[in-house]
């Protein structure tokens, strides 16, 4: 079996790796945005409650939360499919981190612009939608890219709940070929390839929505 054969065999798991990454990251975006917006728009006690939620999630190891969801919940009669378990663990934890990225980006919006919008007659919600969120998204790009790579790098934990992603394929291949070095170097290259692919996609989106002079202000 050549190195190219190993790569091709492992590529069968790459689809699952991408699926896990995209699903978990989408969950993280929704959770992160929901937390950041709720903290921005509601009363202080709700924000405090959510900050505790974020604090706890950021402190739990991803694998522990995954096991709680996948192996723990069936004990109380709730069966969670593997991909959903990944979304409820990796997605939630990443969402907690992203909510902090979004929160600091919301804080970076010039308060005078917010005041100007309100002085025109825009409500708080309209100001959020029209002024704050578009700027927040652009300010958040570096943090969002960072979190995307984290989600990708944590995706191998999916093998522990039986999803045949790259790492699981690699382990099976090592067991049959005993060529650990080549196989693990090959999955390293594959992860790097996927990382570059996602990064190029993000940079294209960033470029598409870039505003002249915006980041330099």
């Amino acid at each position: 079996m050549t190195f190219a054969d190993i790569l091709l065999t492992l590529l069968q798991g790459a689809g699952y790796t991408l699926l896990i990454t995209v699903c978990c990251y989408a969950t993280a975006l929704v959770v992160g945005l929901a937390i950041a917006i709720t903290r921005e728009m509601t009363r202080a006690w709700v924000s405090s409650l959510l900050s505790v939620f974020v604090y706890v999630l950021r402190g739990i190891p991803m694998l522990v939360l995954l096991f709680i969801v996948f192996f723990g919940l069936p004990g109380i009669g709730v069966d969670v499919p593997p991909l959903l378990a990944m979304m409820l663990s990796l997605g939630l934890i990443s969402g907690a981190y992203l909510s902090e990225v979004f929160r600091s980006s919301l804080g970076a919006v010039n308060p005078n612009e917010v005041l100007a919008a309100q002085s025109m007659g825009f409500t708080r919600f309209e100001t959020l939608r029209l002024i704050k969120l578009p700027q927040m998204t652009r300010f958040s790009v570096p943090g969002m890219v960072n979190e995307l790579t984290t989600v990708l790098k944590f995706s191998p934990f999916a093998y522990t709940v039986g999803i045949p992603e790259i790492t699981k394929e690699a382990m099976a291949l090592v067991a049959t070929t005993m060529r650990g070095i080549e196989v693990y170097i090959a999955i390293g290259l594959l992860y790097f390839g996927i990382y570059r692919l996602l990064l190029v996609a993000v940079r294209l989106i960033e470029k598409r929505y870039a505003i002249p002079g915006f980041a330099q202000e």
Binding site: L115, G121, F122
Partner: protein, 242 residues
């Protein structure tokens, strides 16, 4: 009838009165300047008038209606008052044209094309139509202030508020903006302007409301105020200016 009448307006924070019984009136087509030392409550007063800050007590009659009463349509009130800020406060993620058209589209529900035509008209009035596709980061201070004024005028307000419109500008830009506001003044736009800038006050004001420690210390035309050598508060404020 006065467009705006302020009666005994009070704004307190933690028992400390920032505005302490301020009263004055603004007639249609009049330009009035609010001056006074730093911390005397000028900007707070302006923000109280369109309810960006809730007054503690007193009455604000806008076109005869007391807007401090519960049930006031704040959105309708604010859309009739144009507000130009010291730091321009242009939306950085939008082009110049979108900055001006946004309120027309979203608040007045005017279709995009018509809103952009009106926005372009206001930009043209401010000699900024050629910059319609530029973003705020590419504009000078004077150009930014022109766009901010166009944005306020686009809503066809009954009165235009300026909050220190020249204080963030260099002397050349100040002259440019003073000329511009003076043109609005000559066009009979009703103006209420908070400023430290004596040249601006000289150019645009019918009368000056001089605030000191939250109270109206004097209300007069600028020449008469400047002639009050015996008034220590006013003399100290204008000391050193021409």
């Amino acid at each position: 009838m006065a467009i705006l009448e302020v009666n005994n307006l009070v704004k307190s924070y933690g028992g400390k009165a920032i505005l302490d019984g301020v009263s004055f009136a603004l007639e249609e087509g009049e330009a009035k300047v609010i001056m006074g030392p730093s911390g005397c409550g000028k900007s707070t007063l302006l923000r109280c008038l369109n309810l960006l800050i809730e007054p503690t007590s007193g009455a604000i009659l806008f076109e005869g209606q007391d807007v401090t009463r519960p049930g006031t349509d704040v959105r309708a009130l604010r859309s009739r008052i144009g507000f130009v800020f010291q730091n321009f406060a242009l939306y950085r993620h939008m082009s110049v044209l979108d900055n001006v058209a946004l309120s027309l589209r979203k608040l007045k529900k005017i279709p995009r094309r018509e809103a952009e035509e009106r926005a372009l008209h206001e930009l043209d009035r401010m000699e900024m139509a050629d910059k319609k596709d530029a973003y705020p980061a590419a504009l000078s201070g004077g150009q930014s202030q022109r766009v901010a004024i166009a944005r306020a005028l686009a809503m066809d307000p009954r009165v235009l508020f300026f909050d220190e419109p020249t204080s963030a500008l260099d002397p050349i830009m100040v002259r440019e903006v003073v000329t511009l506001i003076n043109r609005l003044y000559l066009d009979n736009v009703t103006i209420l302007c908070v400023t430290h800038d004596l040249s601006l006050a000289k150019h645009i004001s019918d009368r000056v409301v001089f605030l000191d420690r939250g109270k109206v210390h004097a209300e007069d035309n600028i020449e008469s105020l400047l002639a009050r050598d015996s008034d220590p508060v006013i003399d100290e404020f204008f000391c050193g200016d021409d």
